[in-house]
Symmetry: C2
């Protein structure tokens, strides 16, 4: 029996709906395997701005700091007109969590399920054998303009010059920042199929040249892992032409943002993809992390019981595995998801003729029920 | 009868093979329509480094400056070991041409041909109706680190600090740089289906916030054009889920690099895609530009008569249209390509069961012959 603490930040948009189902699955696991999970549920994003005036309060932040893991839903952006003069913006919650907890390794597995091939834009023969995981650097690079304002030589601003306005962003990576994420990726490859693809733009960027050098330097520490470098534009092609060639893909923050969303489409719906953002602090049986589906807040379908809860539920499975040290429980949740899909249950984003179309809640409930089945 | 001057830079790898076919098509057009094309053929890239010690010589550069257009093949990178200490690198030719001639608008049309649906990773129903063109900003942004070293506050370098090495690249855009490419995109949309999608990452980057503002400011000048902003990660998804929703897509340099390669796969092969890089100088009947297939130098198939010449031939068609002011001739070349594809001729990258598999030269010759047919 394990005692663990989880802070739940459902966020806004469809975040609360999908998170509720993920939490239900976690509580089912606790019940079934006799663990003791303490759960704190708090506001973040638009909901927090409305109630507390900030994207995430210090108190909520401290609660996260004292937990084994954060289960996160989704947060949206302000509407265009409100953005312009806003000093408080919902994304700040995510940026602050990622930055201050140094969630440097963002894991996004892409494994198209055969029962959802119909929902993918790709032909089945291109999907066969695809089972890859992205390790996206999440704590540095072009991100964090306003948070990093204090770092000398790292501007992110719009400024007036004699010839009008100009805008600047800074892509900065230190050796340590690259090293830790590359090592995390090699560690993962070592327990998977033993292959790493490092993605950069070394024919253009100084930061990519350093990135490549560090990969070359670390690789000999992992003699069982084969590795290659490819350019980001080529990676965008290979993800479509031959996705099965990849095992672990490691890349910097913004490249990872773009490529993971592209790759997500292979599975048929971005609603299917979980993620884990792993930090530096060890927990009792794993590492402190934040877990969230990679889909956004989708305000257009908010409150309609339409969102796909699978990305959130699979994020909860990653939470069990990486932060709580409960790999069997994680596998049970993943198996339950496969089972419910094999039984033909679908939310609208992955539906097809003859499928059993259900809402967020019913799909979540069916997964929780499947977890209980021996 | 038009007198025009074209500088041809075949480059290296498969560049010379595909460029030869494109040139043959141009000379066929000259012959048939009784134009007088003066052609200068010069070295660039690896070939120029081997013969002249530089990626592109000043003399070649001046010849380009005096031409109506540049027909470009492809240039490769140095092998990894040679890169490390190299001061002369083949890509420098491309960067110098783009930068010094201010080729700011890079046009990349994506229109999957029905006769090549079999070669695309996407299901046919996702390809139907797709006919879009990218307008990629090509003269600024994160590119040109070493060329822009003189610009204060725009570092691109690897440097030592107390805690090891760090690398920095600078994403800088001035108002003028954004304005000119956005206007070019609106001009194109106005004569197409009247829809623009501007792609940025305004929830993270200051440069994207300025970009968005400028698009909003220019849009009212084009009341017939509908426009939208989307985030680059969403764009990477929509290009797969619903490519037919796009007409003109305008974006900054590096986003354009990644998204156009992704989109190229829709057509089945990157060997199919032409490009035009338009500058600021007016020619007699158009605008000075550089035309190149978007595929690279593919050294693995160099000299094997395997490369697909269609990207290069369609680039020559764009050259006729945009720099030489010969739209009918351009249309004739495009029709000839469609005809040869409809007749079943294929290079290996787009081949299928029952196709007539031919080499680079034969496909080129067949296109030239088709141009001659009434
Ligand atoms: C919301 C946004 C800032 C975020 C990002 O770009 O990292 C999102 O796209 C993601 O991938 O988690
Ligand atoms: C060769 C490389 C520098 C170039 C670029 O990144 O612009 C290429 O990928 C392209 O798209 O033309």
């Amino acid at each position: 029996m394990a005692h663990r603490t989880i802070t739940v930040l459902p966020g806004d948009g469809v975040g609360p709906e999908v998170t509720e189902q993920a939490l239900e699955v976690l509580l089912t696991v606790a019940d079934l395997y006799r663990h003791d999970f303490t759960v704190h549920r708090r506001l973040a994003g638009l909901a927090a701005i409305a109630e507390e005036g900030v994207a995430i309060s210090d108190e909520t932040f401290d609660l996260c700091a004292g937990s084994d893991a954060i289960l996160f839903g989704a947060i949206g952006s302000l509407p265009a007109e409100q953005r312009k003069n806003a000093t408080v913006r919902p994304e700040q919650a995510l940026f602050r969590l990622r930055k201050d907890f140094q969630f440097f390794a963002n894991l996004r597995p892409i494994r198209p399920s055969r029962s959802l091939y119909h929902a993918s834009p790709l032909k089945p023969e291109y999907l066969d054998g695809t089972d890859l995981i992205f390790v996206r650097e999440l704590s540095a690079g072009l991100y964090y303009g306003h948070l990093d304002a204090a770092i000398p030589g790292k501007p992110s601003e719009i400024r007036r010059t004699e010839r009008g306005e100009e805008a600047v962003d800074t892509l900065l990576y230190t050796e340590q920042e690259i090293e830790r994420v590359v090592r995390a990726a090699f560690d993962i490859a070592a327990v998977r199929r033993g292959k790493i693809t490092s993605v950069d733009k070394a024919n253009v960027l100084s930061s990519s040249i350093l990135w490549r050098r560090i990969v070359d330097r670390i690789a000999p520490d992992y003699p069982g892992v084969e590795y290659e470098h490819i350019l980001v534009d080529a990676a965008a092609m290979f993800l479509l032409r031959d996705p099965a060639r990849f095992d672990v893909v490691v890349t910097e923050n913004l490249f990872g943002d773009i490529l993971t969303d592209e790759a997500a489409m292979l599975t048929g719906s971005i609603g299917m993809i979980p993620s884990a953002s792993l930090g530096v602090r060890r927990t009792e049986a794993g590492v402190f992390g934040l877990y969230e589906p990679i889909h956004g807040s989708a305000p257009d379908i908010e409150g309609q019981d339409k969102a796909n809860p699978i990305g959130a539920v699979l994020s909860a499975a990653m939470l069990l595995r990486h932060s709580l040290g409960l790999p069997d429980e994680a596998a049970a949740v993943e198996a339950a998801v496969e089972e419910v899909l094999a039984d033909g249950y679908r939310t609208v984003d992955i539906s097809e003729d003859g499928a059993k179309l259900v809402g967020t809640r019913e799909l979540g409930k069916r997964i929780a029920t499947a977890v209980r089945r021996p």
